[in-house]
Symmetry: D2
Subunit: 436 residues, 4 copies
């Protein structure tokens, strides 16, 4: 967790204070269920809630006890008994440390998911707003980094919107994967605790009961969760890369926001670096990398070994905090992105009219000119544009052989950008449910 | 694609023959739509279907043309025109190579998914059968590789069943991710082709239309697909690892099947190696590794660059063929697994009765003995088991201080394995919808 | 191994024929050593060499036997006995299959390394030639994709040369890692074979003896080998990415070679796609990904499990064949790269003279103007360049306040590109050992 | 950086205080060189050293300035000028931020390497001591987790020693990769600074000058560095896995150290979990995973983009701190490992004498019995051991057909464990340079 790439709300999910509060809630809900089942007195359960709710868990004190006992859950329970008094002996009855630890991790990952889903909603809102704003801002589409055919900047943003909508769906599914509760004992057999305790705690904590666990919740769930974050990070990288490309000096169709009077950029006004999106590219590499140890965590030995634990101490916070920061940063970038439609048009017309050569070629063929001849005609005029910086339409209009096949009006019509944007409404309809 | 780790049905999905057949179908369906829209003659569409259906596409001939044209789709279309005749000029109108290539990849990945789903169904069936067979086969549960509490072999298999059920759900979701069709032209604007063509072809090929594409279908879809295969492979590794552990000489609770008379194992009858599950462990590493380049494929430049293509030529076949082989092999292993309940019981009783020490400790406390005294009592008898190979119950019964707190009948009751298996039915009910 | 990304020499390293020939040589050299030690008759060793050298190993026949015996080494030995006759009983005495398999893999990886080293030498030669050709071809250096200060295209290539020189050193080290020989028996104790056999075979096969092995050669060696290939692939990606950037329509400073008359590019002369370097980017992703399973292969169980084997059947050929192809392709790209110095200069001067603004700022400060005033002076003239497309030097010369601080001659001197290239000779001297 | 997996010395390498001190030293050494070249006054260089050496850099103050300037190096220089006074204007002349940042990272990684090399030396010393202690402690070697042939525990440790010796060599090479200094300006051309400054600073900081850089030191160096740490972590995982296997209840040949009186293990004396080595397995997954983003960092755009920076903020500290902690923990585990030779022998003899069946088979063949008959003889006696728990030698001695071929003395000789350990001295000689 790097402070400069962290936001407080997500950091709070992973604080010691949050963790102990969740532990307490799990234990106290379990006491409710045990009381309901007649295993422990109802008054004890009530006392535990009252005293625990009123108390602040002392992280330093728990640390102190842990240094002695070398066991985090026991340290917490000891501290809890200092708070609750004699009724504390009814806490944790028949439970295993992992029951608390794993269910707590589920709660933390579910809360982290909720923040990330909200992040995506924010990003989607920004993308939608800017997409409609630039629905008709014509720009050149590029394949292989080479000019291809016109599209609109809005379509580019609609694509990103659709992509992050998919990411949102994936994240909702990933959240369901890890929002489970296991209170099933040392090897998952419920030997010392009634399965109904698990059902109760699950419901109370907003989780679903794990159908069958070992000492722990199976780690294929977590692998799927972190793999999903890796895919989302990769989409973040894609959009960041697009912006970096569009901001490069020779293209300059968009820029990350900068305050107009901002000093430093004035002496070299071209020197505005897309550092936010470059940063996002790096952050994406990190989040993606966490998928690998998460997958290696699946094949634990028998009913559990503890090798997954250290991995999760890293990637639990790091993946969620980093992605949260990244998505928020990306939202800011999109929200305030400086867009230069004139420059887009200028780039599109870089080779004066040549972008329409394919259409002219097709028109000539359809007008009955042989494929070979059509090619020759287009080529000799295209070459003048390419080599002599001439205007394509002007050259074509001056070529009698071309005019013989295509009258001027028809020829001019082939240079209509509207030809390329006529279905943008349809695309928007598909993506946003409204065309404009 | 390694022949020894390949099965013919999945290999066929990736053959040149299959690919060209799918290309043909996409082109021919597009012709139907174009004819319906009045762009090309209906008779042409009919002819294309008739001639194409009757023909076998000549892979060598297409290769030959490709060597000249250096373009696979053009080579195919040239060959198609050799088959179809003059009407071939109506094929591919307004389309881009990627329209065909990407939609074909979707079809192949969807078919591969169907095979993998069937594989999982086979594995689930085997797991269910063996789980019920061993629902009550008591075995020791282990945490950290160390004996913990009893469970049953059936519960172990139920856990695997639940895990692979999740894998199946994930795969169904992953299939939906990549089962999309894009026929949208050079930069995704439908400039030269009506969006209705895409809708028609999508439906005809069993795909959903891609809401918005560039020249290609967005690669976050494929990243999610291959990441999912990586998670499934990791679950495969988990179960394989479990079996490898259980087969090791000192444990020997299960063995991969071997024919009774099999020579080679006779001189060293203990030397039966779990080579199938070791192999699965290696295969899992490969399938998992493909998630990484798939995620790196997402951030293509602008409306596409072609860097994803080479990656997919490797991982498309390799990931699906390897996982198909692995799941089938795992199914065979589970189906025919030799299970040794006696040995399970013997291992469980390795430290004669010590596995019940926790319960005895708890019983003493509940009988009113102080925690410290309970500990001392259990410990002094446990140590005799550990150091002198004595029987725990016998020792306890001979310890007057113990008997003073716990009468013999109660003490004996603590050694009942049924205590640990009493909720197995509940677990099975949760996992399989039936308890036994 | 994808045929289109494979070259025959490297493919041959991994053929069945090559493998069996190496197996034979290992066995025959071992026989020499055993004969020398008096364990088997010298005449037998001679016969084995004579018959084996004269024979062609029949891959189909060996496959046939393997289908029966389910053991590749036994199948080979059986076939060898068909060739050699009764003396074949002296072959493989005291050896374990892994002795042959692992030593063979070492030979194959060492041969693959030799090809890759030659590939790097070819690439280095191409880079050096083009670097000197363009030692003084001035071009704009870019940070963050934004124009920074001038450099030369030769310096860019010198950087690549230095990088691939490091790659070569790494590869030589990686080759040494895996060029070891182990003939040490079932668990590495030489129980059934004299260690001198290993020494003899190692020397004869051009390998070093493994100081201590288990049944196999330790896999940290192979992990290091494949990790090194991953790093080399990443450098390949870097150079490919550089070229892709420089070829994009708006930059167009270089292009991958195309034949002047090449049809297809004429109608859209700007549409020349950097498909080779895009392809290299994808191939790099694959080679890099193989590092991960190679590292996971290290932690085998006890004296060996066979999980590494399947991984190596994939990545042994795939990593080396793909990297060989990639390096050769990159060499071709560099060798024939079309370089456009005029365009480089035009891009550099895109913001007429603005690239020198930093130097002017510094000069003003050094001439005694305060930092704030210097800034103001540079800024007001820079803004005219940026907003009104004026020429920076002209504007400065027309600004009396500037001229008051810096006389015209001095001002003009600040616009000398030679200022930026004055140390290029030093850099070349460091990299190539000669400055020009 | 997880506190519980961190050691103070390595953490200190990455502190803000350390970083600013290194920045200061780089700047001050550069001033020396600039003074020597006559660019700045010698007295200024002296003052800078004197004031800077006497001062403590105020991290909070620098943070405060950075919040304003949004630039870390400028913030530091501003603070430095607060300390140094007017002469501070001579600091950083002609330099670029990356000159300081990248050279500092080199120093930090070199220092981290030194700590890691010392860690490896500590581990090697522990391995050597324990290896000689158990040079002749016979234990069963296992392939596939199945008993194979005897070896010694010392050989196991010698293997680990050889492996970590290789790791040490790799780390020394990796250190050389990243111990370079670049002070070459905005695009690496030395436009504003004499290359001799770089030479001076490099020497003063214990680095080598980077032959050719861009704005930054090329990232293939760092990729190689982190890939090497990944390989070392994988070796750490291998040894940890070996110990985990040997500690499992059914094997119990070694145990991680525990204090004899340690409470908690007494009631269930078998319940001593190999949690340290399990933890190391997880840590290895993390360190290994960092190789991937490090490799993705190589392909930066043109003369640099800043995407690598965020990645390195994570993996620079995380990889080195985690590996340092892991190696130290592993050293402790090896140093104090509880080894149970009796249990090793008991396990070896689990199938009474069967481990020698291969040798008996060979002896029969060598005595002239046909392969088929030898097999039959061994098999019928082996089966009695396997199925009826008989003793193999006793059975053989009672089998007249066996005795007819092999006299008793010879037969008994085949059961000599010394046969398997006779070359252990040779192996030790190879690994440690001394046999015993």
């Amino acid at each position: 967790m790097i402070p400069r790439y962290s936001r407080p709300e997500m950091v709070a999910v992973w604080s010691q204070e949050t963790k102990y509060r969740i532990w307490f809630e799990i234990e106290a809900h379990a006491c409710d269920a045990l009381a309901e089942l007649g295993v422990i007195p109802e008054s004890a359960a009530r006392t535990i809630w009252e005293k625990g709710n009123a108390a602040t868990f002392d992280v330093d004190r728990i640390d102190e006890i842990e240094r002695e006992t070398k066991h985090d859950v026991i340290a917490f329970l000891t501290h809890l008994s200092e708070i609750v008094g004699p009724d504390a002996r009814f806490v944790h009855q028949g439970m295993t440390s992992s029951d608390v630890l794993d269910t707590c991790l589920s709660v933390q990952l579910a809360r982290a998911s909720d923040i990330l889903i909200a992040d995506l909603d924010g990003l989607l809102a920004a993308l939608e707003r800017r997409a409609f704003e630039h629905r008709d801002t014509v720009t050149i589409g590029r394949s292989h980094g080479i000019h291809a055919e016109p599209t609109t900047f809005g379509v580019k943003l609609a694509l990103a919107y659709a992509e992050f909508s998919r990411c949102r769906e994936r994240l909702v599914a990933a959240r369901a994967e890890i929002a489970t509760c296991a209170i099933s004992g040392a090897v998952g057999t419920f030997a010392n605790i009634d399965p109904r305790v698990e059902l109760h705690v699950a419901k109370a904590m907003g989780l679903t009961p794990e159908p069958v666990s070992t000492q722990i919740i199976p780690r294929d769930r977590h692998a799927m969760f972190f793999a999903t974050l890796g895919v989302i990070a990769s989409s973040m990288e894609r959009l960041a890369t697009e912006i970096r490309h569009l901001q490069r000096t020779e293209v300059l169709e968009v820029e990350e926001y900068f305050a107009p009077g901002q000093k430093g950029s004035s002496a070299m006004p071209h020197k505005r670096n897309p550092v936010l999106t470059e940063n996002l590219t790096g952050l994406a590499r990190m989040v993606r990398s966490y998928a690998m140890p998460a997958m290696e965590n699946v094949a634990l030995w028998h009913e559990r070994d503890i090798s997954h634990s250290s991995v999760e101490r890293y990637i639990g916070p790091d993946a969620t905090v980093t992605l949260d920061f990244g998505l928020a940063r990306l939202t800011g970038v999109i929200d305030k992105l400086l867009v230069y439609p004139d420059r887009m048009l200028a780039n599109l017309n870089k080779f004066k009219g040549l972008v329409h050569s394919q259409r002219v070629l097709l028109a000539l063929t359809q007008a009955g000119v042989s494929r070979e001849d059509s090619y020759r005609l287009v080529q000799r005029n295209a070459m003048k544009v390419w080599e002599e910086d001439k205007d394509f339409l002007t050259e074509l209009l001056a070529d009698p052989e071309v005019l013989a096949a295509l009258p001027e009006a028809e020829l001019r019509e082939k240079f209509d950008l509207g030809y390329h944007t006529k279905h943008v409404g349809t695309i928007f309809q598909r993506v946003f449910g409204r065309g404009g």
